[in-house]
Assembly symmetry: C2
Homo-oligomer: 319 residues x 2
């Protein structure tokens, strides 16, 4: 953990800030009325590639040596990390090989293609993703940019919470973010530790992929046996480094059902007129379904991304 401190977060920010957006922080009077809390939404759905993942990918890729850069980078991802690595590699002028499950949302596949990423599709299992990636890594001698279990990725993700904290005059009672692999969660917890130590950090997780919840309660790292949730960005297991940071710095992990997540997502679409993906609605669902905990509190929520397949909606419009 010694590599994580305020200086390393600050260095990550200095490294990436001219390549990313300092995203808006929005609030909604009507959602606050419904939730009986003061909620501030950090809009990473407005970030480049439509998600916070841009921060970590850039921070990792920008630290490669010239020799490493010349061989390119590789990763596997269901979506947003894939787009982030593809665009960060494009910005660095290097090649990106992306292993994606053949079930990945079309909008994310299109995104990777548009940034010039070289896509290899595989079966939607962790085993298939990892074995395909290893093959490419050996063949091309390129560097793996992991989606979450990596120091520089975590430090990059930490910059989102850093901005949220710095752009507010008063401190937050709570900051919530969704947890899948734990990159955003670990980064958020680190930023809060160094910048606002009295703020509590809550991980928000779908019931249908609740390895972080079970791990937190059991105090040992447990994996998902099977996953069943609409949150396509949160299907992975926690990384080791992410688990370690969670156990040290996160105050609680709270789960919600897919119905509660969809209700929260709809509320944000309807009241705030912004598009977020299901994974991104998990923290608001946690606030809405744990009213006593958050009543009257100042709550920061990181809206992690906005890449949703809109085919169904727009198909209905055309009829």
């Amino acid at each position: 953990m010694s590599e994580f401190n305020l200086q390393s977060i600050q260095e990550a920010e200095d490294r990436i800030k001219s390549f990313i957006h300092r995203t808006a922080i929005l609030k909604s009077d009507s959602i606050n009325d419904i939730a009986e809390a003061k909620i501030f939404f950090k809009c990473e759905n407005f970030q480049k590639i439509g998600a916070f993942k841009m921060r970590g990918a850039l921070n990792a890729i920008m630290q490669l040596s010239e020799k490493e850069k010349s061989n390119g980078v590789v990763t596997h991802s269901s979506g947003n990390h894939a787009q982030a690595v593809a665009l960060a590699a494009k910005m660095a002028g290097i090649k990106a090989y992306i292993v994606m499950p053949n079930t990945a949302p079309k909008i994310k596949v299109k995104g990777v293609e548009s940034y010039g990423g070289i896509i290899h599709f595989c079966e939607p299992t962790l085993e298939a993703r990892e074995s395909n990636m290893e093959k490419i890594q050996k063949a091309k001698n390129c560097t793996f940019i992991p989606p979450f279990n990596h120091k520089d990725v975590i430090l990059g993700q930490a910059t989102a919470a850093k901005e949220l904290l710095e752009d507010s005059e008063e401190s937050y009672d709570y900051i919530l973010c969704p947890v899948g692999g734990g990159g955003l969660l670990a980064g958020t917890a680190l930023a809060v530790k160094y910048l606002s130590p009295n703020t509590k950090v809550i991980a928000a997780e779908p019931e249908g992929a609740n390895d972080a919840f079970r791990s937190f309660k059991a105090k040992k790292k447990l994996n998902n046996e099977k996953v069943n949730t609409i949150c396509d960005g949160l299907l992975t297991n926690l990384g080791d480094l992410n688990y370690e940071i969670m156990m040290k710095l996160v105050n609680d992990v709270i789960t919600v059902s897919d119905d509660q997540i969809i209700e929260a997502m709809r509320l944000i679409w309807e009241r705030m007129k912004i598009i977020i993906e299901p994974s991104c609605a998990v923290p608001l669902a946690v606030v809405l379904n744990n009213r006593e905990l958050f009543k009257g509190k100042k709550v920061g929520i990181i809206l992690s991304g906005g890449n949703v397949d809109l085919d169904t909606f727009f198909a209905a419009l055309k009829t």
Copy 2:
């Protein structure tokens, strides 16, 4: 026309500004790449009630006498104006009677209810709307707040373009807004006349409700005989006052098809992660389908509203 001048627009702004949002102006690098233009979107979808209509309704209602206020206000509207009058009346502490066609989008009906508006449903024809409204007006002796054909409503709507112009350092080559009854169009043209006279104002209209286009070309006020467009906010005919201002101050009226409108709407949803209603996508559709006109130009677009029925989309998510 003598009541329209810079001072009357300024007075409208002073009257309403503490009750409305000064909405964000957003841009999208990827939409600019596609359109080959520099487009700035004035996000009235983020306005109170989710549309610019709040401005005009407030400006009209806040000027009523105490006696008029005590009898309440009445209007007819397919949606956004209904919500605007209901909320503006609530802010003024007075009653609002709202005649709505029974085909109005559910989200707009729910909005009117949530602001305490007293709804009377009628058949979806102009005749039914007007006759129902007149009955209420006589019974309650209340004041009609027209949706667009009214000086104070137009002056209120003018404040959106005023903000757009004032929040930009360089002047615009073009400003576009959708045209239905012409309230936003007339207000925009007036603001441009007094604040940025070299900027051209273009009205954007769906082919399926093209009375403004035909009127502009024929130089006489023509009505729609029948309407057929997805743009539920643009079905009405131009008002007399709105027609008069359009003929004096608007540079052109350009129409686009519903398919072009849906394509533009989807682009805004996908690239900007914000929700706009179909009526609101008409100006971008005009830019995308008249490339030579707008190539390399600085273009301001007023995104008029974001009230979309999301039932189809969310129904698909639940399965």
